[in-house]
């Protein structure tokens, strides 16, 4: 492993993505090892999308969606959270560390929260070995 752990961050365009834009236009830009992927709703992120991200080289996957009760699509964020838990279970069963994936609620204006969560994720991934 050459450098920083690679993270794919699925960001809901109503919350996560907006927060990300604020971050990247700010002095602390989104680091190179984090790839932001915009999605119409965190609930549109499928289990296979998360697994495929991990299979193609991501060390971790984060899904940023709206806070409880704020989802524009009503329950999309709840589905996303549950799906992350489902993927975590699969990871456990195949001997991978379930903490490689996580769901994080964030509001459009919470640029700092997004930045902090991303930093925590990267930090945690640094501490993990490849198949632990």
């Amino acid at each position: 492993m050459s450098s920083e752990p690679r993270v794919v961050a699925f960001c809901c365009e109503h919350s996560g993505e907006l927060a990300a834009r604020t971050v990247s236009s700010d002095e602390a830009a989104i680091p190179d090892n984090v790839e932001i992927r915009s999605v119409p709703c965190s609930g549109s992120v499928q289990t296979i999308d998360i697994l495929n991200a991990l299979r193609s080289g991501a060390d971790g996957v984060a899904v940023f969606g709206c806070h409880e009760d704020s989802c524009k699509h009503l329950v999309g964020n709840r589905r996303a959270k549950q799906r992350i838990e489902y993927v975590a279970e699969i990871l456990k069963e195949i001997g991978w560390n379930p903490e490689r994936v996580g769901y994080f609620p964030v509001a459009a204006v919470e640029a700092k929260v997004l930045r902090d969560r991303l930093a925590e994720v990267v930090d945690k991934l640094r501490g993990l070995t490849v198949e632990a």
Partner: protein, 221 residues
């Protein structure tokens, strides 16, 4: 529909043994509806197993057919199946057996545990509804089956273990079928049906009577 559930991945891993080229086949019928073995689930399993066996030499591919219990739908898979060491079938027991009959020299493994004939109560929750007894009496019990839904298959229920409409065998998860029947018949003004003693059931038409088959002479050539 038939309701099944995927086995734990640990159990599936055990089945793989020394096989190297593994084909996962989903089914587009019942197991798609109960989210156990459809196209989505086949793709997910293939991805998960690939991740589990990274750098092991095992190769995983996947496909899905309309209905795995009919040979006509399995025929187009021939090339892929014959090029594999093993097939993980994501169908119900009927589909797995059809696959095994079609390709007797290939190892076919069941990835699902087939459970029951049932229906969804809400998304993500399926309950047993029909026992396939071969002699339906739903018109006598307000459309609620006591064979499948009463833990003791009583025909003159309820027993003394019915409390607050729940079955004492598992009150959190099982409703007392006879409470449901009582309520439904009361609603329909047909409670008198329960005053009749239902005689002993003829189980010979059920699985107890021997391995069953159904024939339509008008359709067979």
């Amino acid at each position: 529909m038939i309701v099944a559930e995927r086995k734990r991945i640990a159990e599936i891993r055990q089945m793989l043994g020394a096989h190297e080229k593994i084909l996962i086949v989903g089914c587009g019928a019942c197991v798609t509806v109960c989210m156990a073995g459809g196209e989505k689930e086949a793709e997910i399993l293939a991805a998960a197993l690939e991740m589990a066996f990274q750098d092991s030499g095992k190769q995983f591919s996947w496909d899905c057919v309309e209905r795995q219990c009919e040979p006509e739908f399995l025929a187009p898979l021939a090339e892929k199946v014959l090029a594999s060491d093993a097939v993980l079938s994501m169908a119900c027991g009927a589909g797995v057996q059809t696959m095994a009959a079609q390709y007797p020299r290939i190892f076919i493994y069941p990835v699902l545990n087939t459970h029951f004939i049932g229906r969804p109560l809400e998304q993500g929750l399926w309950a047993e509804t029909c026992a396939g007894c071969g002699n339906c009496i739903l018109h006598l019990t307000g459309g609620i089956c006591p064979i499948a839904r009463c833990s003791k298959s009583l025909l003159n229920g309820p027993c003394g273990g019915s409390v607050d409409g729940r079955c004492e065998v598992d009150p959190d998860n099982i409703e007392c079928a006879w409470q449901l029947i009582y309520d439904r018949l009361t609603q329909a003004g047909k409670l008198h049906l329960l005053d009749e003693i239902m005689p002993p059931k003829d189980w010979s038409s059920s699985a107890h009577g021997g391995v069953r088959r159904i024939v339509r002479e008008d359709v067979k050539l």
